[in-house]
Amino acid sequence: MSEVVLELKDVKKKYGSHKVLKGVNMTVNKGDIYGLVGKNGAGKTTLFKVVLGLSHFEEGSISIFGGTNRRENTRNRRKIGFFVGANFYGYLNARENLDYFRRLKGIKDKSEVDRVLELVGLNTNAAKKQAKMFSLGMKQRLGIANAMLGNPELLIFDEPTNGLDPQGIMDVRHMIQRVNQEYGTTIIVSSHILGELEHTAHRFGIVHEGILMKEMSQEDMRTQGQITSINVSDDDVEKAVKLLTDNGIRVKGTEKATTSLEDFYFGLIGGGEQ
């Protein structure tokens, strides 16, 4: 049985009378890339804030790396790196910001800053300007780099690809997979773009209106959501539909398969999946 790094049991949280989390149960195993899927306002960020101790919850329990009480959970949070939003000093550049956080986290190895800068592609001249001059994409990258300082055992990324261009999105996707494979890091990543996580995560949690509706693995998704498609040429569609209907087979719908925008984009400009 896999080691559980994070477990939430019946966690409830409200802001005033508005219930944001309505009894969330969630389990993240060691080595997982856990995709937290849900539309904006579903409760994903609140869930992360509760896990990180930035927000209090009224009911339920949380266990971080097996912690059984608040004190143990607080201590175990040192094993977490996270990116929930941009957090750095605008008047410092990328390297200075990361060096500040390296010290803050008690990481003695100075080369760690270069490692993460390279990992997120910020080892460029552009990164030498003050962080307040960064584009949204660069800020995202800097935040991700900060989360990865010191190779934490658990990484939490909240919407890490917001503001990134298609190549940036692809880079983050690859980086997440690389860090997971190379270091065995457990990663929880949230997004409201389903396709984004589909390519990356091993397990999924679907959040909707403060409830974790379902947790499933890639394997579950393949078997449970299986649809068989029969490809026919454009001219034969009507004939095929008639043939199936005449034989008592219900046709749910027909659609033309097209190249996805993502595929088209990368086909046009190059790059993308390597």
């Binding site: 804030k49 101790g53 040192r78 957090n87 750095f88 000093y89 008047y91 410092l92 010290r103 008690g106």
Partner: protein, 292 residues
């Protein structure tokens, strides 16, 4: 972990332009005071031990120190707290497993360290210049002691402002409170209230319940036997009527020097206006929602 956080943030703060500029202004002010004391013909008559120029210098030095709450206190407040809220570095520390209680303490220690750093620089300048100009160690000790005692008041005002800051999670609110305190705004209102006949007749001074009031009482008990340099100036120039009041009290032996009472009032200042606001800050901030 707390020590690491304090030291890391101090390194950052000491490199911050606004802090460096404001500290430099105070130092420049000290240099100007020194130059004035050296160049200007001595307006004070020195004693056998202390030169007139040294007296002039020490007399003016309090001007530079009196700027500290504004010129240093405000940038310290901004550097430590505003950046913390604006850059959300606090969230980083808490998310990494630092308790909120310890985080507030860490920030408080940073404030003390930054203030102390400026005080040390000014003290060194004062001592060196004073000695060069012909002041005695004893005289310098008293002047410096009084100035360092004022630091307790600045710390208490920052501590009270911290309570507003952590309660509202709004740096502007905290900063406004700090400025009102150092500008003695609340005290001035209460001084007016002291004029109410009932309070006056019963010897009740509401203005004394504020940190500035308690600090003033403690300072009187501690340094009351030492004439201020303005006393000396006035006595030196003209021994007429009230100008020599302080000296007369000293000569008459009626001055109320009481180290025990000084300790008591200092304890009240520290306990009520530094520790209590800190503890309350920790309590109100315990369950605050932290945004990203």
């Amino acid at each position: 972990m707390m020590r690491r956080i304090v030291l890391t943030d101090l390194r950052r703060a000491l490199k911050k332009k606004s802090f460096i500029i404001c500290t430099s202004i105070v130092i420049v002010l000290m240099v100007i005071i020194t130059i004035v004391a050296v160049v200007k013909p001595a307006s004070l008559v020195g004693s056998d031990e202390t030169s007139g120029k040294a007296l002039a210098f020490l007399n003016n030095i309090s001007i530079a120190f009196s700027m500290i709450p504004f010129l240093v206190g405000i940038p310290v407040f901004q550097t430590v707290f505003s950046d913390d809220f604006k850059s959300r570095t606090m969230q980083m520390a808490i998310g990494r497993g630092m308790s909120r209680r310890r985080l507030i303490l860490a920030r408080f220690y940073e404030v003390i360290a930054l203030l102390a750093e400026v005080y040390v620089i000014l003290t060194v300048i004062t001592v060196v210049t004073g000695l060069v100009l012909g002041a005695t160690f004893g005289g310098l000790g008293v002047v410096i002691g009084k100035l360092w005692f004022d630091m307790i008041l600045i710390i208490s005002e920052i501590s009270i402002a911290m309570l507003i800051l952590y309660m509202s999670q709004n740096t502007t609110g905290g900063l406004v409170m700090y400025i009102l305190l150092v500008a003695d705004a609340f005290r001035l209102i209460l001084v007016m209230a002291d004029m109410i006949p009932f309070l006056k007749n019963n010897g009740i001074k509401l203005s004394n319940i504020l940190p500035g009031g308690v600090h003033g009482i403690a300072k009187d008990y501690l340094f009351g036997h030492v004439p201020t340099l303005s006393d000396v100036t006035e006595i030196g120039e003209d021994l007429a009527e009230g100008s020599a009041e302080a000296m007369k009290r000293i000569l008459d032996g009626t001055v109320d020097v009481n180290y025990l009472k000084a300790f008591l009032y200092t304890s009240i200042l520290v306990g009520v206006f530094i520790i209590l606001p800190l503890v309350l800050s920790q309590a109100v901030f315990r369950k605050k929602e932290l945004e990203f």
